[in-house]
Symmetry: C2
Subunit: 474 residues, 2 copies
């Protein structure tokens, strides 16, 4: 899954990378499914807080060295999606469990997949009472409760736990290590934009990186896209302009306004940049299409060629009937309440300027959900400001991994904070690339990144065993 953290307003953001491009795991039959009777509200003692719901988690026992040898436990912390997709494409745990003799656990995030409290997903999300319980603090408390239960059930109190997550799940992993150090000895936080809150990161960070990615791929491609927006508007403003655009972009339904097309292209480029991964590198594919359009083509033809190059032209793409996923709906609520990630577009990008305005954002969210977002809560609860000053002598054992071509890397931790809170970054990497399943076609820099992460995690575990032995003796 590795969903994009889509900013509100991106009405048609297709944030799933093309699954057909990813190496998938063929070992899903090694997983057993369990359900934990989870507490609805960990931070309240109202009678309703005690309501229980079934939280899904899956375990692969195949590689585990067992509790007697205090063999490690890898726990994947689910993000804003059903856990099934993670099981398919997240390879880091399965690829490395054998050499660690590790147990593998995937835990689904509350409100997604089968882990929905109080009715169906749509019911739960429609109910203003129920969706109040849908937030990150509750989610990581869930993870703590499941891990506690697991360790107890498996009699594995001494087994070191490593938590792993990507994107929003990567934020959860790093926050989990900070808030629950007694539950996990370390965290791998892949592409976690924990600094994309409360004005720590400039709001145009995301689209600046998208722009840079395209410009680095091709200056002329970048120029074409830059000019395309006003060209779309110009054509749209003509008599019958929207029909012309609908025809030229082979839209699934006639366009009602030019923003439908522009939003689609915005999402296409952003998604390509975010998931600009080997072996195909979607940004290069799009730019190949744009730059490769036959000599003398006009701007819109070039743009359409870029689209076709990536997506093919067998079926229509633009203005497809909207079929919102749990991720679309759930993440919108999350960003409209707690996860206020201020993504805007400044003047310096290849996109039309569209700055983030907190006031109109708050207003829109309030209109949809009846309650206001809390834009300062993430930094109040988890921190973020002056992160080096705060964490260089506090905390340990977190890897923040980023690919610098991932637009979200603009809100990531890109420099080491201390000896053991470290940044592992690749110049060419994309969103969550390191935790995907390894493949024969992986480039050398990606192999190296994963090796570095594994070496660091091995170091944590060795240190943990040494500390454990020293404390037993003393």
């Amino acid at each position: 899954m590795i969903p994009k953290l889509s900013p509100i307003g991106d009405k048609i953001f297709h944030h799933h990378p093309d699954q057909s491009l990813l190496s998938t795991n063929d070992d899903t039959q090694d997983y057993k499914t369990f359900y934990y009777r989870q507490t609805l509200d960990h931070f309240n003692y109202r009678p309703e807080s005690y309501t229980r719901f079934s939280q899904r988690y899956l375990i692969n026992f195949k590689y585990w060295g067992g509790a007697n040898s205090s063999a490690p436990i890898f726990v994947y912390l689910g993000e804003e999606a059903p856990i099934d997709g993670d099981l398919e494409v997240i390879g880091f745990l399965t690829d490395n469990a054998p050499s660690f003799n590790a147990l593998i656990v995937y835990i689904e995030h509350r409100f997604y997949g089968e882990s929905v409290p109080l009715g169906s997903f749509d019911e739960a999300l429609k109910n203003a009472e129920t969706r109040g319980y849908f937030n990150s603090a509750q989610a990581i408390a869930d993870y703590a409760a499941v891990i506690r239960h697991l360790k107890k059930t498996l009699n594995a109190q001494k087994s070191p736990v490593i938590v792993i997550g990507g994107s929003y799940g990567g934020m959860l992993a790093s926050w989990f290590r900070l808030k629950y150090p007694h539950m996990a000895i370390g965290a791998l936080a892949s592409s976690a934009p924990i600094l994309y809150f409360d004005r720590i990161t400039p709001s145009n960070g995301y689209y600046s990186v998208v722009t840079k990615d395209f410009r680095e791929a091709s200056e002329s491609c970048y120029e074409t896209i830059l000019k395309s927006w006003s060209e779309i508007d110009r054509v749209a403003s003509e008599a019958d302009g929207l029909s012309i655009l609908s025809q030229r972009f082979n839209t699934c339904r006639p366009l009602n306004k030019s923003s439908e097309l522009k939003d689609y292209l915005d999402s296409l480029y952003a998604s390509a940049a975010q998931y600009n991964q080997p072996p195909r590198y979607p940004v290069s594919v799009i730019c190949g299409g744009i730059d490769g359009a036959s000599f003398g083509s006009d701007i819109l033809t070039k743009i359409y060629s870029g689209l076709v190059a990536l997506k093919g032209n067998a079926t229509c793409k633009v203005n497809q009937p909207l079929n919102q996923t749990q991720t679309d709906k759930g993440w919108r609520w999350q960003t409209c309440s707690e996860m206020v990630i201020p993504i805007g577009r400044g003047n310096e990008t290849m996109f039309p300027a569209d700055p983030f305005h907190i006031k109109s954002f708050v207003k829109e969210c309030k209109k949809i959900y009846g309650v206001s977002p809390r834009p300062h809560w993430v930094t109040t609860y988890y921190g973020g400001h002056d992160i080096k000053l705060v964490l260089q002598k506090f905390g340990s054992n977190i890897i923040f991994s980023n690919g610098l071509r991932d637009p979200y890397s603009s809100g990531g931790v890109l420099d080491n904070i201390s000896d053991s809170i470290v940044a592992v970054r690749t110049v060419n990497g994309s969103h969550c690339l390191d935790i995907l399943r390894s493949s024969a076609s992986d480039p050398e820099w990606l192999i190296k990144q994963r090796e570095e992460e594994i070496k660091i995690i091995k170091g944590w575990i060795s240190q943990y065993y040494a500390d454990l032995a020293a404390l037993k003796v003393s």
Copy 2:
């Protein structure tokens, strides 16, 4: 205040030390009172969660060096009582603010004093909906919100904050440093029994220390008390026995059962041990009375002499009409929901055996409040098990101070965890002694303890300024 963390079942536990024995602050006029519009539920986004209530805090600006010089801020985190009492007896902040040029802030704990959400204290506590919001996780989130607000309002983002608390408030201080390291650079946690949860500390720890205190004061005193319980039962079982006991102990009302007397004495001894502070040392006073009863006195005469020695005989003491304070009522709820501190009496104490049974405790709480306690939650959220293993390489800047004569020290951190998570203990100290106002009669060991704490805190602040300067340069 420094209230005793009274175990449920101690119906008549008088847990306030005799205020007349304490040096009180005469500078309460230096404090300005403020109210913060606090969020009712930080961890939920139901419409009700957004309800605001007024949280009281007080500031003394007199000694502050100001925001421009990034002068420190001392924040006292209120415990289970109105903040007024703390202002009177907690001296650590005022005594040391001048040499630190520190701002002093006292914040009241939600639901106590003037910081009660949704109606009067009794209304709030009677309402099963409202009291659900009454817990430690919400309380420390309140503190984070107030500190954030303060720093912003005072433009003091770079001022280092030191949080200070005693007893339950000491637990909150240490947990605050662990959960909100971005809000406070260090914590002084006085007499904080953070390990008295979930069977980390044996349940008879508290009464074992009470017993040790009396035995060290006087072996014969200890023997007398040890024998007194069966003697009380023996007399009570006689015809007219309760009248005899009522007369001999000058009870305020006739005793209905011997447990009323025994509970009173239990509380008397426990409280004396907990607050066994100079210059009077209540344990020695009681034992002086017991041992000093005229030659040939029987056991009950001796016991009554001990009582009179401490409390005088001008008015009746035993079986006074109950006048429950906010602390009594509030703390009972807290212990019956979240703060499950399993205090029992084993066979090795000078008290009748009365082991802690979690099942009957849960049952009793459920009967009173309709919901069950969550005895594993504190260790799930805050940790505690294997604390050295967990924290020796995670976290920094916490002082756990304890007096070993304080029964709660049995659940405290008594050994250094790391270079900067340290234990400062005194052999003769009692509950929260170090944070009380200093006095000319303070013994040398107490002066030394406070000096050590101040030296450590000065070190944190110097280090912080050095780090701040280094980061500015780089």
